[in-house]
């Protein structure tokens, strides 16, 4: 880990070399106009408005005006969504802030009924999208991301950003990212494609359901905590606070009615009593107004952040899942490497057996033939550096055919395999390769089965020369072992980076959460203070009543 990258930057995914280098210098900026504007404007992004727009056809959408200093641009909800997805792809270890949830179809049906609800909904989205942008901006990595800056830039087509690097060159599957990048940095320019494709056919792709053999206790804890917190937030805190707000809404309606009743009552009374009752009616009317204000303040300052946090926990789960899969990949690569090694060992043993057999047969005729283990010469582990030229040349021939042989072999092995993991492997080739190797390793595990296994393997090959085929096999396996060893090394290092990054962002998130929670609770209390002080406008009203009541003493 420390031998390759800068100590502070664990970002293994920055394909933009320019970007990476800038980051490693510590200035953390791309220097674009937007970033300069952000610097000047005290780092705050405003959503200044929203308009309904038509895309020419029958569809209309809402565009939000985003303002950074004097730079103003418009983005629609789907573009925010796309930005967020892009950021997640670019920074899988970062807890990317959430955006307001998409409306369900029923919501839409309900909203279309009332224009007022629509306005309320847009206001809410405006608030939450603005929060999203500023949370992104304040994140040490996301805020410096040029893709993010381009989102804020005026006159930039978002689809263009999507179709240009770094987003366009990002591998579809995040599990490829590290390997691709390593190959690129290690190999020459031309080899990038081939290396990545050949490695991806060999490198197992993990699934989220994969159980880790050696789970990292820190992340196990994090996950358990996140699950618990997520559950508590959504099923308890959010539910109960929503219920309070709903009840307040009903109460506000009651107040409105009650105020009207008092006012009606006062009309039928006369003199000071009428006055007093009217005042009470007015106080109740004002309760209606202040309860309404209480509700909207609670919505904006407590309810929405709570919902945001429920979404945050989802993102945390994703980030943890990403790390989990990275970890799983390492373990799986390790497994297949072990398998390959075993396979190689068996092949070598078979080769030796064959040699001995041949020797014995030869010795039957010639009585003097040495057995040797020329195979080991190839792997460089063999103490005997042998003289057999024929055999030592074989691997180089086989190497070229390695992938082809594998491909030919696969269709044969495939039908008889009942692999439970089949469906979860991302690529068919990978899955088949892995399966094939497992099949083989099973068969080779017992010495009595060796011959049948070999003969089975040989069946699939048109080539009738068993020796050539075997040598092919050995060469191919050796190659795979080498690739896997390299992959293991890369992914292990990557896992360390990913873990560190994830942990760092989790810690950052925890700090942010405490800050936000504190602010939310303070807001909750303040809103209530305001309500309590305002609701019966105690001082003014109480004073007035006292006056009335005092004068009433002289009937």
């Amino acid at each position: 880990m420390t031998d390759f990258e800068g100590s502070t930057d664990f970002n293994a995914f920055a394909n933009d070399p320019d970007f990476s280098s800038k980051k490693s210098t510590g200035t953390m900026k791309c220097g674009c106009a937007v970033e300069r504007a952000l610097r000047r404007q005290g780092n705050f992004i405003y959503i200044t408005g929203a308009q309904k727009q038509s895309d020419g056809g029958s569809n209309s959408y809402v565009a939000y005006n985003i303002r950074v200093g004097d730079i103003e641009t418009r983005r629609r909800y789907s573009e925010f969504e796309s930005l967020r997805k892009s950021l997640i792809r670019l920074y899988p270890t970062v807890i990317v802030p959430p955006i307001p949830e998409k409306h369900s179809i029923t919501d839409y049906a309900a909203i279309q009924k009332s224009v007022k609800d629509d306005v309320v909904m847009i206001e809410k989205r405006k608030r939450m999208l603005q929060t999203f942008l500023n949370r992104t901006l304040n994140h040490n990595k996301l805020g410096a991301e040029h893709v993010f800056h381009r989102f804020l830039e005026s006159g930039v087509s978002w689809s263009e950003v999507l179709h240009s690097p770094p987003l366009s060159t990002l591998p579809k599957n995040p599990m490829h990212v590290a390997l691709t990048q390593r190959s690129e940095s290690q190999g020459g320019d031309g080899t990038v494609q081939t290396t990545s494709s050949s490695s991806s056919s060999l490198i197992p792709m993990p699934s989220a359901s994969h159980t880790l053999r050696n789970p990292d206790s820190r992340f196990v804890e994090s996950e358990a905590f996140t699950n618990k917190a997520a559950h508590h937030m959504s099923s308890s805190v959010d539910k109960t606070q929503r219920r309070v707000i709903r009840r307040l809404g009903e109460l506000a309606n009651d107040y409105a009615e009650l105020g009207a009743v008092y006012n009606g009552f006062s009309l039928n009374e006369s003199g000071q009593l009428a006055n007093a009752i009217e005042k009470v009616g007015q106080a109740v009317d004002s309760s209606y107004t202040s309860t309404g204000q209480l509700i909207s303040s609670l919505e904006a300052e407590f309810s929405e952040p709570i919902q945001e946090y429920a979404q945050f926990t989802q993102t945390i789960k994703q980030v943890l899942k990403h790390r989990h899969m990275k970890h799983a990949q390492v373990e799986m690569i390790f497994d297949s490497l072990e398998n390959k090694k075993l396979q190689l060992e068996s092949l070598v043993r078979i080769e030796a057996e064959a040699k001995r057999l041949e020797e014995a047969m030869n010795s039957g005729r010639q009585s003097s033939y040495h057995s040797n283990s020329y195979d080991r010469a190839e792997t460089n582990h063999s103490p005997h550096d042998d003289e057999n030229n024929q055999d030592t040349q074989a691997p180089s021939e086989n190497e070229e055919n390695a992938s082809e042989v594998g491909n030919i072999e696969n269709p044969e092995v495939d039908p008889e395999a009942e692999n439970p993991y089949a469906s979860v492997y991302p690529t068919g080739a990978n899955a088949a390769a892995l399966r094939a190797s497992r099949q083989r390793s099973k068969r080779w595990s017992g010495p009595t089965k060796i011959f049948s296994a070999v003969s089975h393997t040989l069946h699939g090959i048109i080539d009738v020369d068993p020796e050539a085929t075997r040598r092919n096999q050995i060469g191919k396996t050796k190659d795979a072992v080498a690739q896997l060893e390299q992959a293991l090394q890369i992914t292990r290092k990557d896992l360390v980076d990913v873990s560190a990054d994830t942990q760092a962002d989790l810690d950052r998130f925890q700090r942010q959460k405490i800050r936000d929670l504190r602010d939310m609770l303070i807001a909750y209390a303040k809103v209530h203070v305001k309500y309590c002080e305002k609701v019966w406008f105690c001082r003014v009203f109480g004073h007035y009543l006292t006056q009335i009541f005092n004068s009433m003493l002289f009937l």
Binding site: Q241, L251, L258, F265, A276, L517, L521, A525, C538, F549
Partner: protein, 507 residues
């Protein structure tokens, strides 16, 4: 605080004014002599009343009032006063002598006023046993003249004797019997007892505020007599009550419709209907709002519990979040207490006021009945006079018109009866009846008029009393509301300090 001071000074002013007026009034002097021994403060209320009433109620001396002052709070004396002559439904107005005759005779132009706060308190409910079978609640009645314990039955007695003896007065209604509580057996439950105590307090305050009822011997007796619950006294009281039952029965016998509706009372009835309508609507809406507030308190409570859960999850800031949860819980409790006391008090105040309205309506009906009595008697008198006229001066016109009369005459002629003699006898009889009827009509007119006059005054008392009652209730209601909100605001402010003390690190 200022309010109280001012109020006190008002009292003293009135007191001074009273002492001067009282010299012409032997009754007042007498009374002052009685009360002076108890507490110099206690006569403030009395003298205040006097000042307010000045010429109207007090100057005229009636039997009831005199007896009240002469009674000296002794039950034995009082009881003899209850022996009344034969009951005559037309002069039952005698039963409310204070109101009817006095006001009619003095013809005071000054409008009377309700009695200022006599500070009678119903408090300290206690479970008592009468020795053999049953237990009951008794309440301490503290007034300016004495401090005694009374049970609910005694209140019922007071109500009964007052309604019977002062039919033209708006006697406030008693709290409902709450049968369910008896069935369930929780009539000694704290909540029920407190509710009833408050209702009885309202009942007593209403009587105490009434210029006539508050002076009634029965009320004085109720407030002060130490022998009130002695066995002999009780028997006597029971006798009174049974006698009263028959009265009320006879009172409500006739159902004829009123012929000449009196504008004043039609208007009164309308006002009352409107008031009832308003109060009913207010009660309904208030109860709904209270129910909602009650639900809200539960919602806050659950939210508080949920925040507690969060506090335990967020180990770094457990303590401040717990404080926050506690504050919500506290707020929820305050909300509950507030709606259980202030809101419920105000709602039951309205409820009791509705009951009062019902009582008033009964009296209004009774007044209508008095008018009907008079109208019917007048009509009967007119018919009788007409008959006499006709008997004296029979004309062909009459006969032609009156076929029955003509036929009767013819029949009598046929029988050979001496029609002239019969006619004279009949005229004599009719003359006698007319005299009787004239007397009765005159009497019923007096009754009806004075009853109406009294009801008119009563309605004024009622209005004044309403102003005072609603004022008091609203004042304590708004006080409670303001207290609740300022206490809550202080609590919330408190927790803000705790929350602001949370240390946060910047990224």
């Amino acid at each position: 605080m200022e309010e109280t001071d001012e109020y006190d000074s008002v009292q003293w002013d009135i007191h001074d004014a009273t002492t001067t007026t009282d010299h012409n009034n032997p009754l007042s002097n007498n009374q002052q002599a009685d009360t002076a021994t108890i507490d110099p403060l206690s006569d403030i209320a009395d003298s205040m009343t006097t000042a307010m009433n000045l010429n109207s109620t007090f100057e005229s001396q009636d039997n009831s009032a005199t007896s009240t002052s002469n009674l000296n709070n002794s039950f034995s004396t009082t009881s003899y006063n209850l022996d009344r002559p034969m009951y005559n439904p037309y002069i039952e107005s005698q039963l409310a002598p204070t109101s009817l005759h006095n006001n009619a005779s003095t013809g005071s132009s000054r409008s009377p006023s309700i009695v200022k706060d006599r500070k009678i308190r119903v408090s300290d409910p206690e479970k008592e046993s009468d020795g053999h079978q049953s237990t009951y609640m008794s309440y301490l009645i503290t007034s300016d003249i004495a401090s005694v314990r009374r049970r609910f039955q005694d209140f019922v007695w007071l109500y009964n004797v007052l309604t019977a003896n002062y039919p033209a007065c708006f006697v406030p209604s008693l709290p409902e019997k709450h049968r369910m509580e008896y069935v369930r057996g929780d009539r000694f439950a704290e909540e029920f007892v407190e509710k009833r105590r408050a209702s009885l307090q309202t009942f007593i305050e209403r009587i105490g505020r009434h210029p006539i009822l508050s002076k009634a011997q029965y009320f004085e007796m109720f407030l002060s007599s130490p022998q009130f619950n002695d066995t002999s006294a009780r028997a006597l009281r029971e006798q009174q009550e049974t006698m009263l039952d028959s009265i009320s029965d006879s009172v409500l016998n006739a159902f004829s419709k009123i012929k000449k509706p009196d504008e004043r009372f039609v208007h009164m009835k309308e006002q009352l209907d409107k008031l009832e309508e308003n109060l009913t609507l207010l009660e309904k809406t208030l109860n709904r709002t209270n129910k909602r507030q009650d639900d809200l308190h539960l919602d806050y409570k659950e939210f508080s519990a949920s925040m507690q859960g969060l506090a335990h999850l967020e180990s770094g800031i457990t303590v401040p979040i717990l404080r926050f949860a506690e504050t919500i819980g506290e707020y929820s409790k305050l909300l509950k207490t507030h709606s259980d006391t202030a809101e419920v008090d105000w709602a039951s105040e309205i409820h009791e006021y509705l009951a009062y309205c019902t009582a008033v309506k009964i009296v209004l009906k009774l007044r209508d009945q008095k008018q009907v009595d008079f109208e019917e008697l007048t009509e009967y008198l007119a018919v009788t006079e007409k008959e006499r006229e006709r008997t004296m001066y029979p004309t062909m016109m009459d006969r032609g018109l009156n076929i029955t009369g003509y036929l009767t005459d013819k029949l009598q002629e046929v029988r050979g009866v001496d029609s002239e003699k019969m006619r004279r006898e009949k005229i004599l009889k009719l003359d006698m009846r007319i005299r009787e009827l004239q007397e009765a009509t005159q009497q019923s007119k007096e009754v009806s008029t004075s009853f109406s006059d009294q009801v008119e005054k009563e309605f004024q008392y009622f209005e004044q009393s309403r102003t005072v009652e609603i004022k008091d209730a609203l004042a304590s209601y708004t006080d409670a509301k303001c207290n609740f909100f300022s206490k809550s605001a202080a609590d919330w402010k408190d927790v803000i300090n705790t929350l602001e003390a949370i240390e946060v690190e910047d990224d």
